[in-house]
């Protein structure tokens, strides 16, 4: 040994007592865990990271409204800018770093080919109001993606413009409203189960509907008989998530649709969980009239820290005439036109109108189409199968440690649900979630759906390997056991993240929403 290492050098060994939180450094940094100030604390209004030539002198045509105040926008040089944001990025968990098991969010791998394709100048650098002859390829992307979505869902048409899932819900609900108006019927009630995403009742209320609950059976599904009993001439329709937010397939979906249709209503399906069934089940075969598809879930466009999303809505033959403007139309000669206000004429007279400026989330269409073409019909089917397999594997590996309220109901779909039943006094779902953070995993969706007490909804997705799942299961079992044994350290978790638990109560009581600096504020006055 001494021959090899005559200097006396030894590998470092941590001090037995050295908990990470006890180390105090001059900077507040902990090696690779770097603190970063706000741009307002490190930048200045005179610094810029962009070089411009001098503006040619010109007479102002600003109508005497020149801006004379100090705006107060800090600038940084380019190296400082890159470092600022790179340091901040390292305080984020991300799919690129590890399993992100958020139920109903479908945090799957985001292939970089999709990013590359979206950045081709032919897609990224075209203006939404260019003459249609100069954007045939872009309209081709929209049209090709639309065809895929219609075929995969077995529906009649698709509205491509909604900007996100909730915007898609609104689109579908407005189609239902328009269809009812066309029939001269004033049906006011939409039936929505308690297990629904919060956007469902919010959307229904926004469109002027009254929301009523649909009772669930003890096995976590819609109670068909109770639903049938409530249907009547005041019911506009139902909003049902399938697979539902308890991770179960609604076995009676077709019967539900038939009953709603027989009573003169429409069936809206929240398509947030389409990933579980893509390529294996077509919602159109279940009698669905409208369903939004979160391209950022099933079709892997990046979540980006909270948007942008994209929420095209597939429509049945009954609702298609009411879909929004604009949309693409393919002619036999291959030319594609954009049907908008000026060209709609009498071709789509029942449209409920426009939901957004321009054509929707083109950048997301390009990514989603790239993803779909990569998988093909066979790969997409495998997506559903592997996502369901992964979720069932987690369910069975955990059910002896955590309460799985519907485990006896049969297999789950692409997410497994657990409750906080059996945890000792003072311990709850939040402690398990925060404990997972220290283990290097993002927590699952917590306290949703509302129908399960202390819900933990785990969606591994199909892009996780068995080895990753095994490690996650090991970590979750360990944390769950610590909670069951009442380990006080868990109440203080996370201890190893860039921040400990944050005071959300104080943040809401006295909101500080923008940076304020006395010196700069005075200068502005």
């Amino acid at each position: 040994m001494s021959n090899i290492n005559p200097s006396g050098w030894r590998p470092t060994t941590p001090q037995a007592s050295g908990a990470a939180g006890d180390d105090v450094t001059f900077t507040g940094n902990r090696a690779l865990m770097l603190e970063e100030a706000l741009i307002f604390e490190i930048g200045s209004t005179e610094t810029t990271g962009v070089d411009f030539g001098t503006a040619p002198r010109a007479t102002s045509r600003l109508g005497g409204l020149e801006r004379t105040d100090t705006i107060g926008l800090p600038g940084l040089s380019e190296p400082e800018t890159v470092r600022h944001y790179t340091r901040l990025s390292r305080q984020n968990y991300a799919i690129d770093l590890g399993l992100f098991p958020l139920g109903s969010c479908t945090m799957k791998h985001n292939p970089r080919l999709n990013e590359k394709m979206a950045r081709l100048p032919g897609f990224a650098d075209i203006h939404p109001l260019q003459p249609v002859d100069t954007v045939q390829g872009a309209l081709g992307v929209i049209n090709e993606l639309a065809q895929w979505l219609v075929t995969l869902t077995g529906m009649h048409g698709v509205a491509m413009t909604p900007k996100a899932g909730a915007h898609g819900e609104l689109c579908g609900i407005l189609c239902i409203k328009a269809a009812l108006e066309a029939r001269g019927e004033d049906r006011r009630v939409l039936l929505v189960p308690t297990s629904a995403h919060g956007t469902n009742p919010a959307t229904a209320a926004f469109a002027g509907f009254t929301v009523e609950d649909i009772p669930a059976t003890h096995d976590g599904r819609v109670d068909l008989e109770a639903l049938k009993a409530r249907l009547g001439p005041d019911v506009a329709g139902v909003m049902i998530t399938n697979p539902n937010t308890c991770g179960l397939f609604e076995r009676d979906m077709k019967a539900i649709s038939d009953a709603v249709h027989a009573a003169g209503g429409y069936v809206y399906c929240d398509g947030a969980n389409f990933n579980a069934i893509v390529g294996r089940v077509r919602p159109g075969d279940l009698g669905i009239d409208a369903m939004h598809i979160n391209l950022h879930k099933t079709f892997s466009t990046p979540h980006g820290g909270g948007g942008p999303g994209s929420g095209p809505v597939v429509l049945s033959e009954a609702l298609s005439p009411y879909g929004p403007l604009p949309f693409t139309e393919l002619y036999a000669d291959g030319h594609i036109t954009l049907v908008e206000e000026e060209t709609v004429g009498d071709r789509h007279p029942h449209t409920f109108g426009r939901m957004t400026a321009f054509q929707g989330q083109m950048g997301m269409f390009t990514r989603a189409l790239t993803y779909i073409l990569s998988h093909g019909a066979d790969g997409l089917r495998q997506v559903a199968e592997d996502s369901v397999l992964n979720a069932n594997y987690v369910l069975r590996a955990m059910e002896d440690v955590l309460d799985a309220p519907f485990a006896k109901s049969g297999p789950c779909m692409h997410e497994a649900i657990f409750s906080d039943k059996g945890l000792p006094e003072g311990f709850s779902t939040i402690d398990i979630a925060k404990g997972l953070i220290d283990e290097g995993f993002h927590p699952m969706t917590v306290y949703f759906p509302l129908v399960v007490h202390g819900a933990m909804l785990v969606e591994p997705t199909e892009t996780e390997s068995k080895a990753t799942l095994d490690q996650f299961i090991g970590a979750l079992r360990s944390v769950a056991n610590r909670a069951k044994q009442g380990d006080p350290a868990l109440k203080a978790a996370p201890a190893l993240a860039p921040r400990r638990r944050l005071d959300e109560t104080a943040a809401a009581r006295k909101p500080v929403l923008v940076w304020k600096d006395a010196a700069l504020a005075q200068a502005a006055e």
């Binding site: 005179e46 962009v50 010109a58 045509r61 600003l62 705006i71 926008l73 600038g75 380019e78 944001y85 901040l88 305080q91 984020n92 968990y93 945090m107 791998h109 990013e115 979206a118 100048p121 032919g122 075209i126 203006h127 090709e144 900007k163 899932g165 909730a166 919060g198 009742p201 929301v211 077509r282 980006g304 909270g306 948007g307 206000e341 426009r354 957004t356 929707g360 950048g363 997301m364 998988h375 019909a377 066979d378 089917r381 997506v383 397999l389 594997y393 369910l395 297999p411 390997s465 996370p494 860039p498 400990r500 944050l502 005071d503 959300e504 104080a506 943040a507 809401a508 929403l513 923008v514």
Partner: protein, 452 residues
């Protein structure tokens, strides 16, 4: 399939643990008649990265990209140079592939970006507070109108004729279902916006006046009088900014008394992208904040007293309030907000002012040059980087004819206002730092020829 890590051996082992004979056992709850037995017929099967790239590249090549042509389009989407580091930063996996920051201990990166973005936007628009972004300008505009109704408990909104017609269209669609009454009008090819007409229409039932600044034709009006008139009747003034670079040169709407300022942030950092994704801006005065839609990030401390950031005031939002929420919105446009924020940080105040000055000077020179062309009249005496000319012929066919020659000449008002004879000769021309003098000369010559 390259995105799916499970091997066949993994799958069998996992089925064994689950106690299922085959994958079909896991789909037993799907009614037999709805089960598909194999890949959907008629659809292509999986393809290599190379094959997909080839297909997409072919489609992209069918488009005439702005960078490949003299380019003058604006009207709600603007082409600016985006520094290379912006795109590098938004492609950091930690930003690109993260989720809404519901677990703040491991999302401080996104949360601090949101907080910085809110602060930058509030300052740029001249308001107390801003949210963490909306879908786009048009939906933000509608959300502002409904917010004004909640605040004033009145339902009549007066929309300026200078408001982007798509924004008006979106508001019209939504108002049909919410009971808001909208008073709308068309723009006229006149030197001044419709400020006086708007003031004359404000009454005790008015919830808000909505005005675009600069407006759809590029005109700039002082909003102070309008704000005073609205406030005198206890109505709100909503200002809509579709070109935020302008606020490096002209007064902010907040400074002139706007209560809510919304806008489209696309022109900084985001790019044209054929209309989306973009980033909606939403700012207002402090006293209105609890009526605001959308995500908000706030400053707080952690258990050790360290500064940190969290999503806050979520009792306004759908996941808590459900049918009583201020909006059904469940997301924002964080990655686009990040791009915009990075671009603003690179520019800083000095850079933004320089950029604005270059845009204005370029547009002034272009307006003067085009006005020399026989058959071209400059309509707008005030403008920032976008102005309107009236041609001696209908503009729409001319725009198409010039596109055939590889010139993207601007937005014809016939495209935006079909069937309105008074507007059909109007052409809106935008000029930014990306426009060269040579581009302007090319456009001028082409117009000369087309109008001869």
């Amino acid at each position: 399939m390259r995105y799916l890590p499970l091997t066949e051996a993994d799958r069998s082992a996992m089925l064994g643990v689950i106690g299922a004979k085959s994958i079909d056992d896991l789909f037993v709850d799907v009614p037999a008649e709805a089960r598909l037995s194999g890949p959907i017929a008629g659809l292509p099967l999986h393809a290599s990265e190379l094959a997909v790239e080839r297909h997409m590249t072919r489609l992209a090549a069918k488009n005439l990209s702005a960078g490949a042509a003299p380019f003058f389009l604006g009207c709600g989407a603007y082409r600016h140079h985006v520094p290379a580091s912006v795109d590098h930063i938004i492609q950091r996996g930690e930003f690109l592939t993260s989720y809404t920051p519901y677990q703040p201990e491991i999302a401080q990166g996104t949360l601090q970006v949101m907080f910085e973005f809110q602060s930058q936007i509030a300052r740029l628009l001249g308001c107390d507070v801003a949210n963490a972004s909306m879908y786009d300008g048009s939906t933000a505009c509608w959300e502002a109108i409904t917010m004004a109704r909640r605040v004033t408990k009145r339902a009549k909104a007066i929309l300026s004729g200078g408001l982007h017609p798509h924004y008006v269209s979106v508001a019209n669609t939504m108002a049909k279902y919410t009971g808001d009454q909208l008073v709308t009008s068309l723009p006229t090819l006149s030197p001044t916006p419709d400020t006086d007409d708007l003031i004359a229409q404000i009454d005790d039932d008015t919830s808000c006046v909505v005005v675009q600044y600069p407006d759809i034709l590029g005109r700039i009006a002082d909003l102070s009088k309008l704000a005073e008139a609205a406030h005198a009747k206890k109505a709100l003034l909503i200002a809509v900014v579709t070109e935020p670079v302008a606020l490096g040169a002209i007064k902010s709407p907040g400074e002139m008394g706007a209560d809510i300022v919304v806008g489209e942030g696309q022109s900084l950092g985001v790019g044209l992208q054929f209309g989306g994704p973009y980033v909606g801006l939403f700012a207002c005065s402090e006293k209105l904040v609890r009526q605001m839609p959308g995500r908000l990030c706030g400053q707080t401390v952690d258990a050790e007293g360290k500064r940190g950031f969290v999503l806050t005031l979520s009792t306004r939002e759908q996941h808590i309030r459900r049918e009583k929420a201020t909006s059904n919105i469940c997301t924002s446009s964080v990655l686009c907000a990040l791009a915009m924020s990075v671009h603003m940080t690179l520019l800083g105040e000095k850079g933004l002012r320089d950029l604005a000055a270059i845009n204005h000077a370029g547009a002034s020179a272009a307006a003067d040059r085009l006005a020399q062309v026989k058959g071209v009249d400059l309509i707008t005496p005030t403008f920032f980087n976008e102005f309107t000319v009236k041609l001696s012929k209908e503009a729409r066919p001319i725009v198409r004819a010039l596109a055939d020659k590889g010139i993207l000449a601007g937005v014809s008002l016939g495209r935006l206002y079909p069937g309105i004879a008074d507007l059909e000769n109007g052409l809106v021309v935008a000029v930014t730092e990306t426009t060269t003098q040579e581009d302007v000369e090319t456009l001028a010559s082409a117009l000369e020829e087309a109008l001869a």
